[in-house]
Amino acid sequence: MERTDTAAGAGVVMSMREAVASFVHDGATVSLEGFTHLVPTAAGHEIIRQGRRDLTVVRMTADIVVDQMIAAGCVSRLVSSFVGNSSAGSLGELRRRIERADPAPLAFEEYSHYGMVCRYLAGAQRLPFYPLRSYGGSDLPGVNSDLRTVTSPYPGPDGEPERIYVVPPVNPDVTIVHAQRADRRGNTQLWGLTGVQAEAVYAADKAIVVVEEVVADAVVRSDPNRTLIPAHAVDAVVVCPRGAHPSFAQGYYDRDNAFYRAWSHISKDPERLREWLREWVYGTEDHAAYVDKLGEEFWAGLAVGEALSEPVDYGRRL
């Protein structure tokens, strides 16, 4: 009964350049997810290099890569629940856009984290809305008309009809996530913080999975519960080691906290920000060049030791 695998030609492994050119179009709604961990930075940089325009970016934690994409002129609308440089300070470009429309305005749809999670949940499940116990009394519905209420058809605890807020689905044209590993057909395994990546991929029309490495089929199949994103939901697999820098990949490299702190200063000065983009994004052909430019000594500083999981036994019929 062991089956023959599908032909290698059926695989979806492609370069970052090809994946972005194929699936990220001007005017598209693009979700980039990864909650501090596994941020798809390299994909954001390639979007900048290819000069995409008028994107709606959907990302729970709009952080450095979003500030860079905004500064590069790729983004006209942002849907987010946290617009800050982690705990390290501010996003200079984003603040200038929102506070002073400098050098151009930025449309902003503001949510809370769970509001965003629920939008992805509704998107993945193709539901017309998703209910949540947030927003009662908040000023957010006053500035975001997509936060609405429905009345439950079941009586509340006091016997009276119960109202609850709902959010609409988000169905991005393309979702891009970063993960530790996948097989060549896109069965994707990630561990550590897994955030909302599976939901963001299922919500999307197309999905690009960027991985630290493509592994043998047997590795993935030895632990099918670790596959959070099955191949049927993936359109492109891009191999891009260290593609989450300055964020981290659990077990592969640590977070570059110094760069997070530096970004608050870099982004505060528009000219310095543009110089940074010229040197590190436009000035590098691809992420491999960016990695080389940082140098081996730099990467040694982010190296981590080994801490292997204990295996579990899936068993086999005797």
């Binding site: 009964m1 993945a124 193709r126 599976a198 199949r221 191949a231 049927h232 086999r316 019929r317």
Partner: protein, 266 residues
Amino acid sequence: MTTTPPDTGTTAPGTSVTSSELLSVVASRELAARRAVFAGIGLPTLATELARLTVAPEIEVVYESGVCGAHPSHLPETIADAVLISGAEAVLSMPALFGYVLQGGHIDVGFLGAAQIDRWGNLNTSVIGDWERPEVRLPGSGGAVEVMAGSREVFVVMRRHNPRSFTEFLDFCTTPGPDRALAEGIRPRGAGVTRVITELGVLAREGVGDQLRLVATHPGVTVDQVRAATGWELAVTDRVATVPPPTAAELRLLREDVDPGRVYLR
């Protein structure tokens, strides 16, 4: 009724064709170029595995238990068989399987069975008789309501084709096709049942607004035989085809590669 189903008398390999073999082969052909298939165990297992070896090499079978991309060491006995899990590409939780995969629209073809089917492809798996005090309490929906609501199209394989199963009025509609949903003002996703494969032939249905029509009979089966075995006034296509019998190659694959132990090839 004097219908004699074609060649069901013997199970000796290489000589005549069993009912299971016939239904599996015909169902496998309908899977040509289909990719994501939601299937139960039994005839759908045979059909999907044969299709993988013939018309649909890239087929991915998704099981209700949450398994995607199984590579079983033995023929599975249930949709939750341990051999489907070991070596699988992914195993999903129920919320992910039903919410993201099925309702999310990732299934091309869902296989369903039923105790009763009507001309619109609505299905009953709940009761024979009245729901409150049934003559026979059947298992119920399982995930059938969701397979129908979420799959692009649904194939039904029914061993027995008779007026009790192919009925004008269901005793109970467990699993509605899209026409019934629309009548209630609920927007359906898929086309509902598009193929019904039986011991007598193949019924087909285009989608919303269309009813099942006889499009092909097995060799030796007449249109009148199928009409007599159907509990409603059966629509028949202009040119009813004859189902090409299983080829030697199909039978060899089924008997030697898919189910050499004849677990399902009864």
